[in-house]
């Protein structure tokens, strides 16, 4: 294949904006986080002596393992709920929607582009003690005094995050399902496969990259979330994002916050590697 564009000047000029942003911001800022995690907190940014103390503290104090496990647990549940509820919608979009496809696709992706803060805030007014849910139920005579059980617990965090990130998983699954040729399904049916068999042996393996991609874009941001735990979670739902945020605010220990962030990225990398491994073993081979 012949190469387009051989002029060095053109390539440099075209590469410049992307190179500045990706090397200057993405790579450099991440390197700073990594570097700061190995410093002593003495208020001079990146001037303190080197130390492994921050990471030792993360490993030594059981609080951090506990909060990390809770974050994994919460974002794992959110990811599972989001993907499982999104799959039928994506399936309908790919195979059944017909002339309504464009409109439906727009409707399920629209919340993606509306304020995340407002979506979380909406749940606060729904679940609050004197909020929408309690007052509506009393109005309907279903119970006679407001209940405190809806707000300030991990279940409220899972529900709110699953709602806030619901549209994220539909698009990748839909794109993967779209690549399935109809003829493949017809061939399977002609050869005597039941619907369940077709789904288990043909549709699910082919759509697996979309499912894993969707799971990833839900899992990563929910793992580091600090807004939802603060709004609807209460003290029993502190997540790792909350702890990182606190180090750069009230606690004012930036190096320790950077070390926590590094540990979180490590956990995400391990999760991604495990998922890829699982996909290679049981998933699609397209």
């Amino acid at each position: 294949m012949r190469r387009l564009a051989n002029g060095a000047g053109f390539l440099c000029a075209m590469s410049l904006p992307g190179a500045l942003v990706t090397f200057g911001l993405v790579a450099f800022a991440l390197a700073l986080v990594l570097g700061l995690g190995f410093r002593v907190n003495d208020q001079g940014l990146l001037r303190g002596p080197l130390t492994l103390g921050n990471f030792a503290q993360i490993l030594a104090d059981p609080l951090y393992a506990k909060v990390m496990l809770r974050s994994l647990w919460i974002s794992g549940l959110v990811t599972l709920a989001t993907v499982v509820t999104a799959y039928p919608v994506a399936w309908y979009l790919a195979f059944r929607a017909g002339r309504h496809r464009g409109l439906l696709l727009f409707l399920v992706t629209l919340p993606f582009w509306t304020s995340y803060l407002l979506r979380v805030f909406a749940w606060k007014i729904v679940l609050a003690y004197n909020g929408v849910l309690n007052s509506a139920m009393i109005e309907l005579g279903l119970w006679d005094k407001p209940s405190m059980m809806f707000l300030n617990n991990p279940a409220a965090v899972v529900l709110t995050l699953a709602h806030a990130y619901a549209p994220f998983a539909i698009l990748p699954i839909y794109v993967a399902l779209q690549t399935i040729p109809r003829s493949l399904l017809e061939a399977g049916a002609d050869l005597g496969a039941t619907k369940a068999q077709l789904f288990r042996r043909v549709v699910l393996p082919i759509s697996m990259p979309g499912v894993l991609g969707g799971a990833l874009v839900v899992f990563v941001p929910t793992l580091g979330d600090y807004v939802t735990p603060a709004m609807v979670g209460g003290p029993a739902s502190t997540m790792i994002g909350t702890l990182i945020q606190a180090q750069f605010g009230k606690a004012n220990d930036w190096p320790f916050g950077a070390a926590l962030a590094t540990a979180t990225m490590l956990v995400i990398l391990i999760a991604v590697a495990l998922v890829r491994q699982a996909d290679r073993r049981w998933g699609s081979r397209t």
């Binding site: 590469s15 942003v21 940014l45 509306t114 304020s115 407002l118 109005e139 580091g224 979330d225 750069f248």
Partner: protein
């Protein structure tokens, strides 16, 4: 066939779950009570009036608009050049740049926020509107790259090759042969980046100095129960604008298909 009827019901229920909680915000923004609870007390436009009379909201809106326009412009420019190089000339470096440009989607917002906070402090800039712009460029970049990559990949390579064979310079191939076919997608990427930045809270929280954006203003007001109705009126307007802009981006994206 049973499935044929159950599935549309499920889709309907899913859409209700998706929209009902958010729809409560505009609903209660007209409620004549500080509590967001049933029964509703009566219709009022009082909260919208207060909204217009609060100068801090106007200032936050101007900050948000300025930041969103700057961040969306930079993100769209970067995404256009990055994906053009990826699809057409394909130099080795562009593959690395492309990977880094998509990386922020694998980083939780809180870490993007603190990473840039460290960077702007080191650079002597400190938390400021420029710092938020930089943060939002990173947040917008993966989606803009995805939209534009799809568009450039759909343009036949032969068009660019024909232009080059006929003696067009590298820049002319880009500017006259490929770019005219991608304008709608570029508009779509810009609009979506604008929306992302306009609504972004998690990263901006770390990078804001004394001049808050609208989401940061909302966050600061959530502590005061008295200001909840005004926050809901503001939220209702933001939701309306977001929906209109998302519709515009969708129209642009569809036009680029033709």
């Amino acid at each position: 066939m049973k499935q044929g009827r159950l599935l549309p019901i499920y889709i309907g229920a899913y859409l209700v779950f998706l929209y009902l909680p958010v729809a409560l915000i505009p609903l209660f923004s007209f409620n004549d009570s500080i509590q967001a609870a049933f029964p509703m007390k009566g219709l009022t436009l009082e909260w919208y009036r207060t909204l217009l009379q609060t100068p801090a909201i106007g200032q936050a809106l101007r900050n948000s608009l300025g930041i969103a326009i700057a961040a969306a412009s930079i993100a769209t420019l970067c995404a256009t050049t990055i994906t053009y190089l990826e699809v057409f000339p394909r130099p080795v470096l562009s593959r690395l740049i492309g990977v880094l440009a998509r990386l922020p989607i694998l980083i939780p917002g809180v870490i993007v926020g603190i990473a840039l906070l460290i960077l702007v402090n080191l650079a002597g800039l400190g938390p400021s509107r420029i710092a938020i712009v930089l943060g939002h460029v990173l947040v917008c970049l993966p989606a803009a790259v995805t939209v534009l990559r799809a568009r450039f990949a759909a343009i036949p390579r032969s068009i660019a090759e024909a232009a080059a064979d006929l003696g067009a310079s590298d820049f002319t191939v880009f500017r006259r042969a490929v770019l005219p076919l991608a304008w709608s997608a570029i508009g779509s990427a810009f609009t979506l980046s604008f929306l992302t930045s306009f609504d972004e809270f998690i990263v901006a929280y770390f990078l804001a100095g004394t001049e808050p954006t609208l989401p940061l203003y909302i966050w600061s007001q959530l502590r005061f129960p008295k200001s909840l109705p005004v926050v809901m009126a503001l939220g209702a307007l933001i939701l309306l604008v977001s929906a209109l802009l998302a519709g515009l981006a969708e129209l642009l994206r569809r036009r680029s298909r033709v």
